[in-house]
Symmetry: C2
Subunit: 218 residues, 2 copies
């Protein structure tokens, strides 16, 4: 059985939990308290030198990092990863778009706002939110009516982008202007096996309350 | 024949030119002057709403954006993209690492330093350079002696990371401390068909000298 090193309030981690749910696969879950120093140990650096969650360890003991690469591995051989070369390149394209625009533009301001880090750099938060709004506008234009980012059925491109896009309002970015995005979120949330157990940030996520990589670099 | 919309001083574009060269494939090259407003047109937004280079248009008229997704499509069916599921997930992992750490940590400060944008935000450049040094240290540890990021032969993971990593000194990040990285750069540059035609930034790349997306957001 695979093991997921996982933080409950991270939408990067939610992506993997969501795909496990949609595939109906069991996995072991190791809770990583990123604000209690769990990623600061030498053991964790050996698992992931970037000290990020999630990390997947396969039943063969192989380690894969980067949430979207974990999605790729889990989805191989399932309908969530198309087989054609062009479709696969388009999936890769959206995985990169997600990490270039959605994570920085929604995930980052969500983190700063929910954990009390926004007040220290309001201009930085506003610039990130603008990136997030641009990303949502691009998604809204790209989503075909009733369909998904790469074709007529959902792929890991959708799951990756859903991770932070669905949480835009926690980043104080209203979803109201993006009708196609809202409709697509609804279609994803209606899939059999869908799970969204994204947790609130706990008290030790506040600045200075715990020990984490964010104490040094927000 | 494929068409590459391309900017000569962009290492994101160099990646695609490099893979075309290694594969011995011809392509049409459309020069995009990103500092003369070429990416600000409605036509360009229709090609790539992110207004970035490179963009690939296949001989079937299909459009693929994101430099690393272009690498993926071009490499399908060649030795530059391995066939096993785990190896492919590892390639995806490095493509994401590149856009998360190498591009922001080396490509961004290189751009700011070479085009006269660094003086406006020296602290921002220094923070990015620290990200770049961390990325190089992670690469240095990850690279096996005589081999490549994913196995014994080069893949698009190597080409993607090479794009900006080899230009670290233009970002004022010395490569001297990273012996494995330097050795790996040498192995890549010795491959048959290797090309590195990364151009200097022209005068219109200076702040205020042209019209580009960077005038609004550096």
């Amino acid at each position: 059985m695979s093991t997921l090193y996982d933080y409950p309030a991270s939408a990067n981690c939610l992506k993997a939990r969501l795909l496990f749910g949609l595939l109906g696969r069991d996995y072991d879950r190791v809770a990583v308290d990123i604000f209690d120093g769990d990623t600061l140990t030498d053991d964790y650096a050996a698992l992931n030198p970037l000290r990020e969650t999630p990390v997947l360890v396969t039943d063969d003991g192989e380690v894969v990092t980067q949430s979207n690469a974990i999605l790729w591995l889990l989805a191989e051989g399932t309908p969530y990863l198309p087989s054609g070369a062009l479709d696969r390149a388009r999936v890769v394209q959206w995985l990169l778009f997600e990490q270039e625009r959605v994570m920085p533009g929604i995930g980052n301001p969500r983190f700063r706002l929910l954990t009390g880090r926004a007040a220290a750099d309001p201009a930085g938060v506003a610039a990130r939110q603008e990136t997030g709004r641009e990303a949502l506008a691009i998604l809204d234009d790209a989503l075909p009516a009733g369909a998904y980012l790469v074709g007529a059925t959902p792929t890991i491109a959708d799951l990756a982008v859903y991770g932070y896009a669905h949480a835009a309002e926690e980043a104080q970015i209203p979803l109201a202007p993006y009708a196609s995005v809202r409709s697509w979120i609804g279609r994803l949330e209606a899939l059999p096996g869908f799970v969204n157990d994204l947790a609130p940030y706990p008290p030790n996520a506040a600045p200075g309350a715990g020990r984490s990589i964010y104490d040094a670099r927000p």
